[in-house]
Assembly symmetry: C2
Homo-oligomer: 337 residues x 2
Amino acid sequence: MLLDDYFQTYLPIIENQLKAAVNTIDRPYLAELRYMLQYHMGWEGDGAGPEARGKRIRPILVLLTTMAAGGEWQNALPATCAVELIHNFSLIHDDIEDNSPLRRGRPTIWKKWGVAHATNAGDAMFTLAHIEIFRLIKILPFETVIKAAELLQRTCLHLTQGQYLDLAYEQRSDLTAIDYWPMISGKTGALLAACTELGSMIALAPEPICQAYRQFGFSLGLAFQAQDDFLGIWGDTALTGKSTENDLVTGKKTLPIVYGLSKQGKFFQRWSDGPITPTDTIGVAHILSEEGAKEFVLSQVSQLTAEAIQSLEAANPGGEAAVILRQLAERLLTRQS
Amino acid sequence: MLLDDYFQTYLPIIENQLKAAVNTIDRPYLAELRYMLQYHMGWEGDGAGPEARGKRIRPILVLLTTMAAGGEWQNALPATCAVELIHNFSLIHDDIEDNSPLRRGRPTIWKKWGVAHATNAGDAMFTLAHIEIFRLIKILPFETVIKAAELLQRTCLHLTQGQYLDLAYEQRSDLTAIDYWPMISGKTGALLAACTELGSMIALAPEPICQAYRQFGFSLGLAFQAQDDFLGIWGDTALTGKSTENDLVTGKKTLPIVYGLSKQGKFFQRWSDGPITPTDTIGVAHILSEEGAKEFVLSQVSQLTAEAIQSLEAANPGGEAAVILRQLAERLLTRQS
C-alpha cells in the first residue's frame, strides 16, 4: 500500500470514531451544541464535506506510528480521536483569538454563533478529546493509560503557552528566530510529538523507542511549520488559495518575518513604516529574499527534516508502516500548498 | 473544631498547593501568562487578597469528604487543587461569555488583557487542573486515579453543557422550571457532585458510599444555586453587595424568573414589555412573590437540602468531619449573602 491507500482505508474509520465521540452529546436539548461541533468538523451545514475537514494528518500519524512500532492499529483509535479533537478545539479558540471569520472557506463558529457559544463549544470539544483517551483502559495497562492521558494534558498546556507567545508577539517587532521556536514548539511541535509518542506507547514500545518517535514527531512538526511559513510568503498563491492572506499582509510573526526583523535592514524599515498591502507583497518578499530569509528558512526546513528522519531511524520502525511514515514526512515537507 | 477552624487550618495549605500548580508555568518568557492566572486567583495585582479569592468552598468540601469517609486529608490535596482550578477556569470563560467587566470587584481577565488572552488563559487554567489530578498516582491505585481523572473530565463536559443552556436561554421567554434544572445540574451541580465523589474515592470508600456522597454534593449544589437565585431577587442588597445587579435587571434565567415566566401572568406580561430597571425591582419582585415564586423557590431549597442531608446520612460519615459537613451544608443554605 502507498500513503494514499492508507488514507483511503483508515480515514473513514477515523471519521466514524470522531463522529461517535461528538455524538455522545446526545440529549435533545443539546442538539444545537452538538451541531456546532459537527459543523466545525465539516460534517454538517453549508459547505460540509472533505474540503471542510482538514487533512486529518494527526490521527493518521498516530495510527502509522502504532503500526511501525509493532502494535495493532485498532488499539490506536481512541488516541487518533483524541489528538484530532484537540487539534480542532485549538482551531475553534484560535479563530476567536485571531478574529478569523473563515476556516477552510466556511464561516467560523464564533462568526456564526458569536464568541460566547464558540468559546464554550471549544471547551466542549476539549473535554471530549480527553474523555476519548480513557477508552484506552480496555486496551492498555492502567499505568500506560495514565501516562497517555497525562501526556495529552501536558501537550495542551504546551499548546496554550505557544498560543500565548503568538498573541504576545503581535505587538512586537524586536523578535528574532530565538523567540520563534518556543512559540512553534508549543503551537505545532507539541501535538505532533504527542501523536508519535502516543502511537508508540500504544504499541507498548520501550521508553527509549517512544522518545525517539516523540522526537521524530516534534522535529517533523517544526519542519512542517517552517515550510508552512515559507509558503505563507513565497508559495504559489493559486495552490495555497490564500492570495489576500499572504503572511506579509496579515503580519503574522512567521520564521522568515522574524528573521527579516532581526536583520534590522531594509525589511525591518519597510515593516516599521506601516501595514503591507496585497500589492506590496511581491516587492517586500523580494527584499526579504535578498536579506537571506528565503535561504535561511529553507536551510532550517531541510535541517529539521534530516533530524526528523534521523529520529525515525533511531526508533527502528518496522513493516510497511515504516515506509509510509517516511513518505508522509517527505510529502509534508515538499508540498506546495 | 468548628467549620471556621477548618477553614483557618486548611485554607493556607490549599492556597499554597494552588500557587504551586500555577507556578509550574515557570519559563521567564511566560511570566505574563502566569501573572494573568495569579491575578485571577486573587494573589497578585490591584485588589489582591482574601476578598478577591472567593470562598474556596469546593476544595474544603473535597477535604471534609475525604476525612468523613475515613481517609487522610493530605491525600486529597491534588483533588482540592483540581476542582478549584476548574471552578476558576469556568469563571474566566464565563466572564467572557457573559461580557462581565468585574469579578469579585476587580476587572476580569478579558477586560484587562482582551478576549484573546483571556480565552487562552482559561484554557491554560483548565489544563493545569487536569494535570493536578494525576498527582494522585503517588497515593491511589492506578485504576482509581483513572476513575478520578475521567470523572473530572466528564464533570467539565457537563459544565459546558450547562453553560450552553444558559447562553441558549438568554433569548427565550418560553421557559419553565423543567428547563432550569438541566442548566443548573451542569453549571453548579456537576462540580459539587464531583467534589464529594472525589473526596470519598480518595478515602477508597466502597462504590455505594461514593455514590451517596456524590448525591449529597449534587443536591447541595442545586440547593445552593436555588438559594443564590432567591437572594438574587429578594436578598438584602446591602449584604450581597449587588444593588444594581438584581437578577431582574440583568435578565438571568434564574429559578424564580423561569417559574414566573411559566405562569404566563402579570410577571410574564411585565417581562415581555421590556427591560426592568433598578427602580422597578421592588415592584416586580412583589409581583413575582404574589404569583407564588418566592414560596416555590424556598420550598425547592428546603426539599433539596433535605435530600442532601439524607444522602449525607446514607453515606454514614464519621468523626468530626461529619459534623462539619452538616454545618457547611447548613451555612450554605441559610446564608444571606
